[in-house]
């Protein structure tokens, strides 16, 4: 299962809040986060790292797609 969150245009800390809520709601699922700014990308990746997720970044123009897979933590 994978869950998609679109936080494009939302300023921090909203992308982090929404990603964290998705992690709490569906801890076993892969979470795909669509976002726009470098700051949001860094913040969500830091959250993912702290929560034990593996993260992969795909960039298309000004937008990022983060794929967060739950790890062993």
């Amino acid at each position: 299962m994978s869950l998609e969150i679109d936080v494009r245009g939302l300023s921090c800390p909203i992308p982090v809040v929404k990603t964290k809520q998705a992690m709490e709601k569906s801890p076993a699922d892969t979470i795909v986060v669509l976002l726009e700014t470098e700051v949001s990308k860094e913040n969500v990746m830091r959250l993912a790292e702290n929560q034990g997720y593996r993260s992969k970044v795909e960039q298309a123009g000004n937008e990022y797609k983060l794929i967060l897979e739950p790890g062993s933590k």
Partner: protein, 349 residues
């Protein structure tokens, strides 16, 4: 990620040390670099309020914005955007300024004051934390100010351009600019040094995303200490420089540009901390975001400047002798307003 944290700690130490040293170079005591106080002084210099003791175009602010602008351009992080409830952001800017001027300092100065031994700052820091916790409640409940959209680059350049204009006013001093002849506004470091220090801090703050409310927020919201490490390092940097220069004076009474009313120092900063949490960052962070092309943050800064004018024109701002006549009323009004914003502007409302 580890490297970023080291950079944050170095940036925090340097910022704290420079901020404390600025008082040796002429800035008011325990006010090395206070973002709120300095916007208040700028508002006074432009004649938006008539408090004669706090009128001066602080070059640190122009430096902060322009340093962050250059850094954002250099690292390819400048992105013009806007449209996320500018009116609400403007009003939040007004109220965070009202709260800060009831305490007499922004979240940055609260730490500077503590590093100078001013124990009144403890009430303020407790207020920031409580404000951030109330904000976290609203964030978890689904509060957000809506999406921003990309916009013309020209719009993103306007705030840095406005700062260049202010800098030209500071250099050439046209006759409509006010300058305090006594009081905190008359105390300042030489223009070039203030500008250069502002530029350095602006660049560091842009790169590290330093935020003096976000640091507390993230500790509780996501148990992440990255931003907080900047606040802690800033405190250590300021404390070390204050010790070396003999500027530590531990106590409540007789502190520079401060009063001893704990209740309203606390409540003022609950208002400020909550407003900053709803906005996504403290006045320093708003300045940096504006420099990166965020026109919503630019509107927040205009709100902060308007908040300074309102605070002094409507007798809300505190002084060394205590709170302003209507300061407590304004703080309570602000808290009710901000809670309504937090409650009703929510996806679950």
């Amino acid at each position: 990620m580890k490297n970023k944290k080291y950079l944050m700690i170095i940036a925090g130490l340097l910022f704290g040390g420079l901020a404390a040293y600025m008082t040796k170079l002429g800035n008011p005591g325990n006010m090395g670099i206070c973002v709120a106080c300095f916007y208040r002084d700028i508002a006074g210099a432009l004649g938006f309020h008539q408090a004669a003791v706090v009128q001066y175009l602080r070059p640190e602010i122009m430096g902060l914005c322009l340093g962050a602008f250059l850094s954002a351009l250099f690292f390819g992080e400048f992105r013009a955007r806007g449209g996320s409830n500018p009116l609400v952001r403007f009003l939040l800017g007004v109220f965070i300024m009202i709260g800060a001027l009831v305490f007499l300092g922004c979240p940055v100065r609260a730490v500077i004051r503590l590093a100078g031994g001013d124990l009144n700052a403890l009430s303020a820091i407790a207020g920031i934390v409580v404000g951030a916790l109330i904000g976290i409640y609203f964030l978890r409940r689904g509060f957000n100010l809506g999406r921003a959209n990309s916009t013309y680059k020209t719009a993103g350049y306007l705030m840095p351009l406005l700062m260049v204009v202010l800098l030209l006013f500071a250099i050439f001093q046209p006759q409509f600019i006010f300058n305090s002849v006594k009081g905190p506004g008359s105390m300042h470091a030489p223009l070039v040094i203030a500008l250069v220090v502002g530029l350095i801090i602006g660049m560091l703050a842009q790169k590290t995303r330093m935020c003096f409310v976000g640091g507390w927020r993230d500790l509780f919201l996501v148990k992440d200490s990255y931003l907080f490490s900047g606040i802690a390092a800033f405190f250590v940097g300021a404390l070390v420089v204050n010790f070396l220069t003999g500027a530590v004076n531990i106590g409540f009474e007789g502190q520079p540009v401060a009063h001893t009313n704990q209740l309203w120092s606390f409540m003022g900063m609950v208002l400020c901390g909550l407003g900053c949490t709803l906005l996504g960052g403290c006045p320093l962070r708003q300045t940096i975001l504006a420099a990166e092309g965020d026109t919503d943050a630019s509107v927040t800064i205009l709100g902060i400047v308007a908040g300074a004018a309102v605070s002094h024109n409507f007798l809300l701002a505190s002084s060394g002798t205590g709170t302003g006549v209507f300061g407590p009323t304004a703080v309570v009004t602000g808290l009710v307003f901000l809670c309504c914003i937090g409650f009703f502007m929510s996806e679950t409302a």
